[in-house]
């Protein structure tokens, strides 16, 4: 049995009273807390002030926990900015022995996006793990790969911009099942 999927439509500009935000995955003073911040930008380099960024990540031990501890959601502000306080996930070990470098999965929704964009946040201070990561390793261009790496910009603070379009467009993914 295979039922046809329900199509995606834009989140529109008015989602804020329907979708509760959760920008603190841990308290700001929790041990190991990090901040990930950035902007969502359009093809003209202008901020996207009506976007929604969702993240999903493993815990510090590299395991995806049950429940929604590893999930966050932030509405962009007037400057296109978003920020999460979380912990850096550990490397994820797959059953087949593959190891994925620490990363977050990101979905970004916005007015003008008829379906979300899917990307990943890796970390600039995980160079060794990044070199061995099967997804980063499968991206041919250094500049493309760089769009997936958050830059350490201060103590426990990382910067990750999402560029929807243009020469510096972030690398976006799709999956066989999702129809993203």
């Amino acid at each position: 049995m295979s039922l046809p999927r329900t199509p995606s439509q834009t989140v529109g500009p008015f989602f804020e009273f329907g979708m509760v935000t959760k920008t603190l995955l841990v308290d700001e003073d929790a041990p190991g807390a990090i901040r990930i911040e950035g902007k969502v930008l359009d093809g003209a380099g202008e901020p996207v002030p009506d976007g929604l960024v969702e993240i999903w990540q493993a815990g510090a031990d590299g395991r995806y926990e049950e429940g929604h501890l590893g999930w966050g959601r932030c509405q962009t502000d007037a400057d296109g900015g978003y920020a999460f306080t979380t912990i850096k996930p550990g490397a994820v070990s797959e059953a087949d022995g593959t190891t994925l470098a620490p990363h977050l999965t990101v979905l970004c929704f916005a007015r003008g996006l008829l379906k979300p964009v899917l990307t990943r946040v890796y970390f600039s201070d995980e160079q060794e793990a990044n070199r061995a990561d099967p997804v980063l390793g499968a991206i041919g261009s250094d500049s493309d790969r760089a769009t997936l790496v958050a830059t350490a910009i201060g103590p426990a603070t990382y910067r990750f911009d999402i560029r929807l379009q243009g020469d510096e467009q972030t690398v976006f993914f799709t999956t066989p099942a999702a129809g993203l």
């Binding site: 295979s2 999927r5 979905l107 008829l114 499968a138 041919g140 929807l164 379009q165 066989p176």
Partner: protein, 242 residues
């Protein structure tokens, strides 16, 4: 990099949209897509733990009143009271239990409670327009709300959105995440709406239209519409011709 893994397969979004349920990112008739649509090919991710897991919710994450948009204020909202219910399923037909379903909508006059909405129609002090519910063991959800009005926007001259309720649904995997819009049967605005028309397959478009549901109406109280939602399917659906 010493050893490079095989490069990821690329997917042409426009080509995919001609055979898939989802719209293409670039749908020029919907002006908002022009500067916000990615233009480079998408990379096909292998289905690994990060794609096959996702946040899980439960009945504790919502309050009973969250699913009744007509009782969130001192008085009753104006407009036509309706019951909206349905099932969330995987493409395998099995129910998606404990799915968090969030909805938001305009009021009966077609006005959103939002600082950016400038439509000169009245706000309703008794209607916010947001609700949430978690599906039961059969994947069922149910909301009570009022029928939203059509809504003007500035996409083109004299542009109006058909009446719709926004839905956000969490499936079993984060990559099954769906945000969509539920429409009402027989709306004369469908033919003129680039967002509805962004779905290229007419049969797929119709899956976004709710059905009048006589069995769920409450006599002398509310009409009812049913709306089933089918999510991606946890990797069960192979990508054809990719």
């Amino acid at each position: 990099m010493s050893e490079r893994a095989q490069e990821l397969q690329t997917i042409d979004d426009d080509e995919r949209a001609t055979r898939d349920a989802d719209p293409a990112y670039l749908t020029p008739e919907y002006v908002g897509t022009r500067l916000r649509s990615p233009r480079r090919p998408l990379l096909l991710l292998p289905q690994r733990l990060s794609e096959l897991t996702g946040p899980a919710f439960g009945q504790d994450d919502v309050r009973p009143g969250d699913s009744d948009l007509t009782t969130q204020h001192a008085g009753e909202p104006l407009g036509e009271r309706i019951i909206v219910s349905g099932r969330v399923m995987g493409s395998d037909g099995r129910p998606v239990r404990n799915a968090l379903v969030e909805v938001w909508q305009a009021n009966a006059a077609g006005r959103y409670l939002h600082r950016v909405d400038q439509h000169p129609a009245p706000l309703d002090p008794n209607f916010t327009g947001g609700g949430r519910v978690v599906t039961d063991d059969d994947g069922r959800y149910r909301f009570i709300t009022i029928k939203p009005g059509a809504y003007p926007w500035k996409n083109h001259d004299n542009a109006w959105r058909p009446a719709h309720i926004h839905f956000s649904v969490f499936g079993r995997a984060f990559t099954e995440r769906l945000v969509t819009q539920m429409y009402f049967p027989g709306d004369p605005l469908f033919a003129y709406d680039p967002i509805y028309q962004s779905v290229r397959d007419p049969a797929a478009r119709e899956r976004m239209i709710s059905s009048f549901d006589l069995a769920s109406t409450k006599p002398e109280w509310a009409l009812a519409y049913s709306y089933d939602i089918v999510l991606g399917g946890s990797g069960a659906t192979p990508l054809e011709n990719a």
